[in-house]
């Protein structure tokens, strides 16, 4: 079986402006929603109490809301979680009252109304931990960005590093934009997914950059645009298949992983789709505009390449 029979290089770079315009518009929209709607942060970040209660029959959410409101808690969210029989209750932290008392009170009230109510899970996070988690998340993001840039700058060149990081950070912002727009819950596993996607979609750019470098050595007469087009065309088959395979895994998580892994898998799905787009269409174009040249990539190995033009792997030995 063979999906891709591409005889001629596809002139991707001819449409670079259009691709980047699409990218830019999505990016701006994502930033807009991030600011206008904000992320729906989980209790891990905001602090507060989360309870998961299961009933033997589909739960009446309004009744549950009423029972909790009677206790005098304000700002309580009650929603179904996974199935109609499972209810998730989120309460902000109350000053002068421990989470233990809070959850105990709520559970007693719920049990009074329906003896079948069963506590499946509680989670309480103090406000100080929430702030720390947010700070740690940002630190991790900075670490990933700087680490990847240094690595790419060493392996390739700073222009590639900048291009890859811009392209992939824009993926991250778009994922966040989706979470803001749909008000999906942004929890710690989602943060992990976002950072994993960052590392993963940089892969994609790396594969294409590797090809660009190889092409620079091999096809000495081609222009930069032709070289990029050829690199993208010859790797597109692999790009689609790899991402397809990863997506199969993620899809399986989305289908079988249950409510806990739902948003995690969703973040990965968006990340994978936009990861393809940004690495193929955006990263290479940015690198092109930053003015990558043959000399940038083979200057260290210039002498060797001159002696042995067939050896396209000379730069790839670690």
């Amino acid at each position: 079986m063979e999906f891709f029979k591409i005889k001629k290089d596809i002139p991707f770079m001819k449409h670079a402006v259009a691709f980047n315009a699409i990218s830019f518009i999505t990016f701006v929209a994502a930033v807009f929603f991030l600011f206008s709607r904000g992320l729906h942060l989980s209790v891990e970040f905001t602090g507060g109490t989360l309870m998961e209660v299961s009933y033997s029959q589909p739960a009446d959410l309004n009744a549950v809301r009423g029972q909790i409101a009677k206790l005098g808690f304000s700002d309580v969210q009650v929603q179904n979680f996974g199935t109609a029989r499972d209810v998730m209750i989120r309460m902000p932290a109350v000053k002068g009252q421990s989470s233990a008392q809070q959850s105990e009170q709520v559970l007693t009230a719920l049990k009074e109304a329906d003896a079948a109510a069963q506590l499946r899970r509680t989670e309480f996070v103090g406000p100080q931990v929430g702030d720390e988690l947010a700070a740690d998340g940002l630190k991790a993001l900075a670490f990933v960005v700087v680490g990847i840039m240094i690595y790419l700058a060493m392996r390739f060149e700073w222009k590639f590093a900048v291009a890859a990081i811009i392209a992939n950070l824009h993926d991250v912002v778009i994922i966040l934009g989706f979470f803001a727009f749909f008000q999906w819950e942004f929890s710690l596993p989602v943060l992990a997914a976002v950072l994993a996607v960052l590392g993963y979609s940089v892969n994609e750019s790396v594969v294409i950059f590797d090809r660009i470098r190889e092409n620079f050595r091999r096809y000495r007469k081609m222009s930069t645009v032709e070289i990029i087009d050829n690199a993208i065309t010859s790797t597109i088959s692999r790009t689609i298949i790899t991402h397809g395979c990863t997506q199969l895994m993620v899809l399986s998580m989305l289908l079988f992983g249950g409510a806990t892994l739902h948003y995690f898998a969703l973040a990965l799905t968006i990340g994978i789709c936009f990861g393809i787009y940004s690495s193929v269409f955006v990263a290479a174009a940015i690198a092109m505009w930053l003015g990558i040249r043959r000399e940038d990539l083979i200057k260290h190995h210039g002498n060797k390449a001159a002696h042995d033009p067939e050896d396209e792997n000379s730069g790839a030995v670690v």
């Binding site: 899970r121 670490f143 998580m253």
Partner: protein
């Protein structure tokens, strides 16, 4: 050109053997067990205990499957939960006659059902996190400013008596948060006081300043001492928590320090959070009282008469009764420290107590009046008192430094010091994070994670086999080996597997296939360009390698960042993610190449390879 030297095959075979061996325990599942561990630091679970348990079980007509004694805990495995529960009751009855004074913790647990030879190789199933097995997780924050304030308070009192002894007249000592302020009328007294403080209180650093008509000396705890106070506070709180959790009967509690001022407590299998929290938050109190040595009290001690009026009967740790007066001389609030050490005169083991100024003054008065009498140190927990020690007062004791000695071994001295310190929390604690996961949810989470990995794996494998034919089969086998090695490494390291960890497992498999896709695509491309099959395989693997390395390094950077900065669920994800990337480098490149070499390597005149359609331009 496509042949491995023998040693490379040997590495593959060894890796597979070791991998299978350590993955094996995960298939046996878990069996119900009863675990016996020591509730007090003075008792040890040893062969003697094992014999008692054996006798108790034989008497109850119960036959354990396996009985193991390691790391101070005895684990007895049974066939079913019915036997397990009966055995727990039988052992409880034999080892813990009095539930209020338990020397041993008898808890229900789950043990791997793997055969003994596997266990002897230290091969154990993966360690499941709380979200997969159910239980309670707490993170407690120790209130360090409160610990320092407490220390400053006791130092202020010490300074007051120190200055009085040296006849230095001040016009007021006050404590403001963690600083101590002393006022003086003139500069000379201030300097005299400063000298006293510098000589006697090494933990303090002082600064002087004019304050209106008065002179003010400000003393603060110096950074080194502050650090020591904080370290001691958290250690003491951990010890206290240990003692309290022992009463809960949890098989494998985790109590760890996190950072400088946090403690993580994990209680697998505990469902009653309310009780757990109640016990964690309880305070113990220490009291010093006089022992009644009258004739009536003596006879009451042996149970021959009524307890005299105004006294109470308490047991000491050896089960001997002590009749103690109801009047309390000192409480734990006046005790600032208790350390094990040695008697300076006869080198006997001893416990050194440090009292604050108020305590020292009272202690001095009481001891002066009661030379030759006995004094009891009592520890109250859950409203029940126990005599820790009841020594005879030999002489007046001043200065707030008290030594308890006499017929004590070093171990006992250690235990007593620990008990005295652990009696109360050094600083208040606050629960800042809490997670409870019900057991049914845990089981469900395992099933969900397992399903995700399985179906994703099947889907990818089917696709690869159809798309790349025989090379797809090689890739699929390599992917299976990756999963095997990952599970083996996780089992070996006993890293905690959580639901995000299982998600990482699925994700890493999806990413690992990338390497094989790269290789297979490269081989196809070489064939398309007219290379011979053998050289296409060779070039395909060689050229793909640099790309695979680059892309894995970038993924690894992201994984390491998560590991370094992540906590809780993120860390569980990151551990599996990073390990998975490492094992995938081995399986996807080294191992799959080995497979290809075995299959195609020897065929010199290879005409075609089975890698799906290769179209020619």
């Amino acid at each position: 050109m496509n042949r491995y030297p023998l040693w490379k095959y040997a590495i593959i075979v060894i890796a597979l053997l070791v991998g299978s061996l350590y993955t094996l325990p995960n298939f046996f599942g878990e069996a119900p067990a009863v675990q016996v561990s020591a509730a007090k630091s003075s008792v040890k679970v040893d062969v003697g205990v094992q014999e008692r348990v054996q006798a108790a079980l034989a008497a109850a007509n119960l036959k354990p499957d396996v009985m193991t004694l390691d790391n101070g805990s005895l684990k007895v495995r049974f066939d079913n939960t019915d036997q397990q529960l009966k055995a727990k009751d039988a052992i409880q009855l034999a080892l813990v006659p009095d539930a209020n004074d338990a020397s041993y913790v008898v808890a229900l647990n789950l043990l791997a059902r793997s055969p003994a030879w596997l266990t002897s190789l230290n091969a154990a199933p993966m360690y499941l996190g709380l979200d997969l097995r159910g239980g309670v997780h707490f993170m407690l924050q120790v209130d360090m400013p409160a610990a320092l304030t407490k220390k400053a308070e006791s130092l202020a009192g010490d300074i007051r008596s120190g200055l009085r002894e040296k006849n230095v007249r001040h016009s007021g000592i006050s404590r403001n948060a963690q600083t101590i302020e002393i006022r003086f009328r003139d500069m000379e007294t201030l300097e005299a006081a400063q000298r006293v403080i510098q000589d006697q209180f090494l933990d303090l650093q002082t600064t002087s300043a004019a304050d209106g008509a008065d002179f003010k000396l400000t003393a603060v705890i110096n950074p080194v001492a502050a650090k020591r106070v904080q370290e001691q506070a958290i250690k003491q709180n951990i010890t206290t928590l240990h003692n309290r959790i022992n009463e809960l009967g949890v098989a494998e509690p985790v109590i760890q320090q996190q950072g400088t001022d946090r403690i993580v407590v994990q209680l697998p299998g505990v469902q009653d959070t309310a009780k757990a929290k109640d016990i964690l938050g309880r305070t113990a109190t220490l009291e010093i009282r006089m022992v009644d040595d009258s004739a009536e009290a003596r006879s009451a001690e042996f149970g021959n008469g009524p307890v005299p009026f105004g006294t109470e009967r308490f047991m000491d740790r050896n089960g001997q009764a002590v009749i103690v007066k109801k009047q309390v001389i000192l409480t734990g609030e006046n005790l600032t420290d208790a350390q094990p050490g040695f008697d300076t005169q006869n080198q006997e083991a001893a416990v050194h107590l440090t009292l604050d100024a108020k305590g020292a003054r009272i202690f001095k008065d009481v001891t002066r009046e009661s030379v030759g009498k006995r004094m009891a140190i009592l520890l109250f927990e859950k409203g029940k008192g126990e005599v820790v020690t009841a020594p005879v007062i030999r002489s007046e004791i001043g200065g707030g430094r008290v030594q308890i000695s006499g017929r004590m071994s070093t171990v006992e001295a250690n235990d007593t010091a620990l008990l005295l310190r652990a009696g109360s929390l050094a600083a208040p604690m606050e629960i800042i994070e809490e997670r409870t996961i019900g057991p049914s949810l845990g089981a469900e989470n395992i099933a969900k994670g397992f399903d995700s990995v399985t179906w994703g794996f099947v889907a990818v494998t089917v696709f690869m086999c159809i798309y790349y034919m025989l090379f797809g089969v090689f890739s699929s086998v390599a992917l299976a080996v990756n999963l095997l090695l990952l599970v083996a490494v996780l089992s070996m390291l006993q890293a905690t597997l959580t639901l995000p960890g299982m998600a990482a497992m699925a994700l890493v498999l999806g990413m690992a296939i990338d390497a094989n896709v790269l290789i297979n695509e490269r081989v196809r491309e070489e064939l398309r360009n007219g290379a011979s099959p053998q050289s296409a395989i060779h070039a395909g693997y060689d050229r793909a390698w640099a790309t695979i390395l680059d892309s894995n390094v970038t993924t690894l950077i992201a994984g390491l960042a998560l590991l370094a900065f992540g906590s809780g669920p993120v860390r569980g994800f990151a551990v599996v993610h990073c390990l998975g990337i490492l094992t995938s480098m081995f399986s996807a490149v080294f191992f799959s190449r080995g497979l290809v070499n075995v299959w195609y390597g020897r065929k010199k005149k290879l005409q075609s390879v089975s890698i799906g359609t290769v179209w020619r331009a």
